[in-house]
């Protein structure tokens, strides 16, 4: 029983630690680190991580909280990333149930969800009249933004899910 408690505590630390690191990275490097002209959204990686490890409920909550934090830290419309983040967390958490083990399939799922989020964000901004959806520059920004997010997610997921013990982290329980 003590061993179970120890393992549980260790699992929590292993989940919380990358989240804390990613939050600090977002605050410190969020406006400085750019890949192909696009910034990585470290908070979105947290959403993906929590959704994959804990399921759709946690993913949905994390998506809303992290999305709102990202909106408040930035200069765009407040609430839009919160909306899309909660949908992303829900969807990734739901899809992770039938996910194969290992970090690569999870990264692929996150990449698809992130691309969908960036496209949806673009569509929302176009509907709101902020952006013009036409043109290669916009498409390039979507792809660059997704690549930046996936690059951070690849490192994070490899460290968390690639580890033989961490990879078995707490998953949604089948009751």
């Amino acid at each position: 029983m003590l061993a179970d408690e120890g393992a549980s505590r260790q699992g929590s630390v292993r989940l919380v630690l990358p989240c804390v690191v990613l939050v600090v990275l977002q605050l410190v490097l969020g406006g400085h680190l750019k890949l192909f002209g696009a910034s990585a959204d470290f908070l979105l990686v947290i959403v993906g991580l929590l959704a994959l490890m804990r399921g759709d409920v946690t993913g949905c909550v994390a998506g809303f909280v992290c999305g709102l934090a990202f909106d408040l830290l930035g200069s765009g419309m407040v609430g839009l990333t919160a909306l899309l983040g909660s949908v992303l967390g829900f969807a990734v958490g739901r899809a992770s149930r039938s996910m194969a083990e290992g970090w690569a399939p999870r990264l692929a799922l996150f990449a698809v969800a992130d691309l969908a989020l960036n496209v949806a964000y673009l569509i929302f901004l176009t509907i709101l009249g902020v952006l013009d959806v036409g043109g290669w520059a916009v498409l390039g920004r979507v792809i660059a933004s997704t690549i930046a997010d996936v690059a951070v997610a690849a490192i994070t997921f490899f460290l968390v899910f690639g580890h033989p013990r961490l990879g078995r982290g707490k998953r949604p329980e089948l009751r």
Binding site: G31, G37, D56, A69, S75, G76, S86, Y121, A137
Partner: protein, 360 residues
């Protein structure tokens, strides 16, 4: 025996789905509140608090970035003269690194001198600030500066660099402010073509370019023509340079021209800025703009040549003595390249024939 996956969906979906619906509704409420409220509304206030809390981290980030900028300069210098550097000892390497650091200081000094020149020439009063972060989201073009409401900065104040207008303050916390740049897709500035005096609206885009809209198709617009603030709207002083026309074609509708404008300074080069808190309403600085666009985009030698060319064409400007207040900073920002400079000078000399694309 019940199917496990079915059981799981039945037990887990309602809670997750309910949460999703709640969060979607909450997000929509926040979006609506943000869009409807003014800059002093609760959502904006919350953003100010969050950015105040985050500002120490951003300052750390800007400090972390500085050595990398120096290293970048070091490698640039090293690649410029690799044959000589290959023979250098450790002592020389250390000196080169010091030289890179000195170059950083020299560049900073030139930028500040240029900034002081512009504020003096246009009689601007305000607060100088350093850029500590750029926008963390990929769909807006903003910078965060290290001065906030405690330094007298308010929302809507214009922000300039040594080359001219770069944006407007959109949110303020106690110690930091967010400046929306002219290249931001949400930005729109009333602007004017320096020669034709046609007024339009300058809007940003995702790729960092600017478009001048609502300029009538029968207006003669020249490539290389300088775009300045019109002074309409009361936010920006009249005549501050913003950019240079790069292309001009009649629009598909034929009513207006499609004019692409290149900003004077690329946004990634902003390091020190000046937030204008007050200015002389009666000043029309349109004639001053040429010298500042030149200073922002050319080296000292080409600037000197261009000055002599412009002096022939604009004797009144020299007579006023205003152009001489602008220092030849020679920062080499690269926003206005030599070809554009030549076009501008030729235009000033009245040699604009054939430069108007698409005709009027």
């Amino acid at each position: 025996m019940p199917d496990i996956s079915t059981s799981m969906v039945e037990r887990r979906s309602p809670k997750a789905t309910r949460l999703l619906v709640i969060f979607v509704i909450a997000s929509l409420v926040i979006i609506t509140a943000y869009a409807r409220e003014g800059s002093r509304g609760p959502v904006h206030a919350l953003r100010g608090v969050v950015q105040t809390v985050a500002s120490p981290f951003q300052l750390v980030g800007s400090q972390i970035e500085k050595p990398f900028a120096a290293i970048d300069t070091f490698f640039t210098n090293a690649s410029a003269d690799s044959a000589t550097l290959s023979e250098l000892s450790d002592e020389n390497s250390r000196l080169t690194a010091q030289l890179a650091q000195m170059n950083e200081y020299a560049n900073e000094n030139a930028r500040l001198a240029s900034l002081v020149g512009l504020t003096d020439a246009y009689d601007l009063s305000g607060v100088a600030a350093r850029v500590v972060a750029t926008s963390s989201d990929d769909w807006s073009d903003t910078i965060t500066i290290d001065k906030g409401s405690s330094s007298g900065i308010k929302v809507d104040l214009p922000v300039v660099t040594g080359g001219g207008v770069i944006g407007q303050v959109v949110s303020v916390s106690a110690t930091t402010s967010v400046v929306r740049l002219v290249t931001d897709p949400e930005m729109g500035i009333s602007a004017m073509l320096q020669n034709s005096r046609a007024v339009g609206v300058l809007t940003g885009s995702v790729d960092g370019s600017l478009s001048l809209t609502y300029v009538s198709s029968d207006t003669d617009v020249l490539v290389g023509e300088i775009v300045v603030t019109s002074g309409l709207g009361g936010v920006y002083p009249k005549g501050l340079p913003i950019g240079v026309v790069t292309t001009t074609t009649p629009s598909s509708s034929g009513q207006y021209r499609e004019i692409t404008v290149r900003p004077i300074w690329p946004s990634q080069h902003y390091e020190e800025v000046y937030v204008v808190t007050s200015y002389d309403d009666g000043l029309d600085g349109t004639e001053l703009a040429t010298s500042f666009v030149r200073d922002a985009g050319s080296d000292a030698a080409s600037a000197a040549t261009a000055t002599s060319a412009t002096a022939d064409a604009q004797p009144a400007q020299d007579a006023s003595g205003q152009a001489s207040t602008a220092p030849a900073s020679g920062t080499g920002a690269g926003a206005v390249e030599a070809d554009t400079q030549a076009t501008t000078d030729e235009q000033a000399d009245g040699q604009a024939d054939g430069q108007t694309e698409g005709g009027a």
